[in-house]
């Protein structure tokens, strides 16, 4: 079928718009990457920074020479791995009995969980609770308080409900109890939802910074996001102070290096996510649909 002129014009417009959107998303990252490997005099110049003729890895050498970035990686990976495993296991364990219609007082448990989606104690009471439990300045403060969310429980439960009951039934016949059935039969059958929640939690843990900011005050546990925030904020403060005309904050010379170091730290925080992201993408899409269709 031949397309009308209007339809063809629309196609051209549409494709151009989509290309434009893609460019606005990719551009900032390319720019950061180029700035991070540019020599100081180049990285501080006005310009697009889409290529450099004198690539140097000094800024990366500089940040990896200090121990703080390695520590930050350690704490970030630790909280991500531990947090994700605990979140997934505890959430799935909780969701499984709730998928059984005959569970004693099921509606009560479900109601208690769903209620937390709409109402909570708020920032200060939560902070004081974590403090009273002596979790401040420990890695547990980054893992335990945000362990389960009602939303996750609801979508995992809905998935379990849709599993064929016959498989579990035959295991009961063979004398297995609920715990065995759950770990040996239900969990392996639930790969799509487990993958989804794992990935949500993984990305959430990697990106989290607020809990680290409020629960860790002695600076011993510093995750990547907080490290990046510190670096950016220092630079931002200096820039604002400059504008207000405060004396002695002229960092000419110093700031130039800071620019490529800032870019380098931003990249080392981002790269792990960007690397795994294309592989995770389809699970996320699947997950959001599971959540949308039945949640």
């Amino acid at each position: 079928m031949k397309k009308s002129l209007g339809a063809r014009l629309f196609d051209v417009f549409n494709i151009t718009l989509m290309l434009f959107i893609c460019v606005t998303i990719v551009f900032p990252f390319v720019q950061q990457a180029v700035i991070s490997i540019s020599p100081p005099d180049e990285s501080s110049e006005i310009g697009l920074h889409l290529y450099t003729l004198k690539p140097t890895f000094d800024s990366f050498k500089q940040i990896f020479a200090t121990g703080s970035i390695w520590d930050a990686y350690y704490w970030t990976i630790l909280r991500t791995v531990l947090g994700t495993i605990l979140t997934v296991v505890v959430s799935a364990m909780l969701a499984y009995p709730l998928s059984k219609r005959y569970l004693l007082a099921r509606k009560v448990w479900m109601g208690l969980i769903v209620f937390t989606m709409f109402f909570g104690g708020g920032l200060i009471p939560t902070y004081l609770l974590v403090k009273d439990l002596h979790m401040l300045n420990t890695v547990w403060a980054l893992i335990i308080p945000g362990l389960c969310s009602a939303y996750n429980i609801v979508i995992i439960r809905n998935f379990f409900t849709s599993l064929p009951i016959e498989v579990e039934e035959s295991a009961y016949m063979d004398g297995a109890n609920d715990v065995t059935v759950f770990f040996k039969i239900v969990l392996p059958l639930s790969a799509p939802i487990i993958a989804t929640v794992t990935l949500w939690s993984l990305v959430g843990q990697w990106n989290a910074w607020f809990d680290a900011m409020i629960y860790i005050s002695n600076g011993e546990i510093k995750v990547l996001q907080i490290l990046l925030r510190d670096v950016l904020n220092n630079a931002q403060d200096a820039a604002l102070a400059n504008i207000r005309g405060v004396e002695n904050v002229d960092m000419s010379g110093q700031r130039y290096t800071a620019e490529s170091v800032k870019a380098a730290i931003l990249l080392v925080t981002t790269i792990p996510i960007i690397m795994v992201y294309p592989f995770l993408q389809k699970y996320f899409v699947k997950g959001i649909m599971i959540g949308a269709v039945k949640g």
């Binding site: 900032p28 720019q31 950061q32 009995p97 709409f118 362990l147 389960c148 649909m289």
Partner: protein, 318 residues
């Protein structure tokens, strides 16, 4: 299928009607074993802080604890309502949220509709993959990208000023441009990811409808208006109501990572205010009272918006 299920349940002898509650509990002890860690978590970390709400009605002293602190009734609430700054912060929150909904809510819908019109499925996939990316980054990272882009002394904005001879401004330091940056960056970050759910809804539309519309002579635009949009309307309504629930959120992560003292009068929202008076200035009781006021208003807003959407479209979330 349902009769089969109930049969199986009877076979497993787990029906609560068959014995006392204690007997049922005993039979289901392994299920409760699985339930235990999660329920404990919810009681301690979700309901525990709700006990802490009491401190809004007390003058909480960390040294004397919750029980030892004196009751003061609604003192903190009176104080809050009489405080001019509280109303400033509430107005800011509403303004920022409403603008975000106005701009940020239709954007993914429009994006999904346009994506759907792309002829090449390969190009469509590439655009999708790229557009989802920013969602997976924290606001700390995105703020870093923004600082670079809007800096008058080296970013893209600096270059534009240079080329067009504009007078360079500190965009993040001025209320109006700060607000614009909030809105644009919010759309930039979430447009792709937000479109997934609409794309899924569009994929679920029966293709027969499009075929018969084509036979009737409807073009792509008319098909979009008369078939696609009405078909995804329930999804739109659902997300709208859920979005209104967060109307008093304003986006803590985003604002907290971008704001500075120069834009405080317009950028400070309830959440950032609660954080500052609570954890920085340690006015625990007052800050908790502000937090409660926010929760209650938000809850009312969800219920009201759900009711309105229900009236308009016969579709409710609850």
């Amino acid at each position: 299928m349902s009769t089969m299920n109930s049969e199986l349940e009877l076979n497993a002898n787990l029906s609560p009607k068959k014995g006392s509650m204690m007997a049922t509990f005993k039979k289901q002890r392994f299920l409760f074993l699985l339930l235990l860690p999660g329920l404990l978590y919810f009681f301690i970390f979700k309901y525990g802080p709700m006990y802490g709400i009491l401190m809004a009605f007390k003058d909480y002293q960390p040294s004397s604890g919750m029980a030892g602190s004196p009751w003061v009734g609604f003192k903190h609430f009176h104080e809050m309502f009489e405080m001019n700054y509280f109303w400033t912060v509430t107005a800011n929150t509403l303004k920022i949220s409403l603008l975000k909904i106005l701009v940020g809510f239709p954007a993914p819908i429009l994006f999904a509709l346009l994506l759907n019109e792309l002829v090449s499925s390969r190009f469509k996939r590439i655009v999708q993959t790229i557009s989802y990316l920013p969602h997976f980054l924290s606001w700390v990272i995105v703020a870093g990208l923004i600082f670079q882009l809007v800096s008058p002394s080296y970013g893209l904005y600096g270059l534009l000023c240079d080329i067009f001879g504009w007078k360079p401004h500190v965009l993040l330091g001025e209320s109006k441009s700060f607000l614009q940056i909030l809105l644009i960056s919010n759309v930039w970050k979430e447009i792709g990811y937000g479109s997934i759910i609409y794309l899924a809804a569009i994929a679920g539309i029966n293709s027969d409808m499009y075929e018969s519309a084509t036979i009737d002579g409807a073009g792509r635009f008319k098909q979009c208006i008369y078939i696609t949009l009405p078909s995804i309307l329930p999804t739109i309504c659902m997300l709208f109501v859920l979005g209104l629930g967060g109307i008093l959120d304003g986006g803590f992560d985003q604002i907290f990572n971008l704001y500075n003292s120069m834009v405080m009068p317009t950028a400070d929202i309830i959440d950032t205010f609660v954080y500052r008076i609570g954890l920085v200035e340690m006015q625990y009781s007052f800050s908790t009272a502000v937090g409660i006021a926010k929760s209650v208003i938000a809850l009312v807003l969800v219920l009201v918006s759900n009711w309105i959407v229900g009236k308009l479209s016969n579709y409710t979330v609850f």
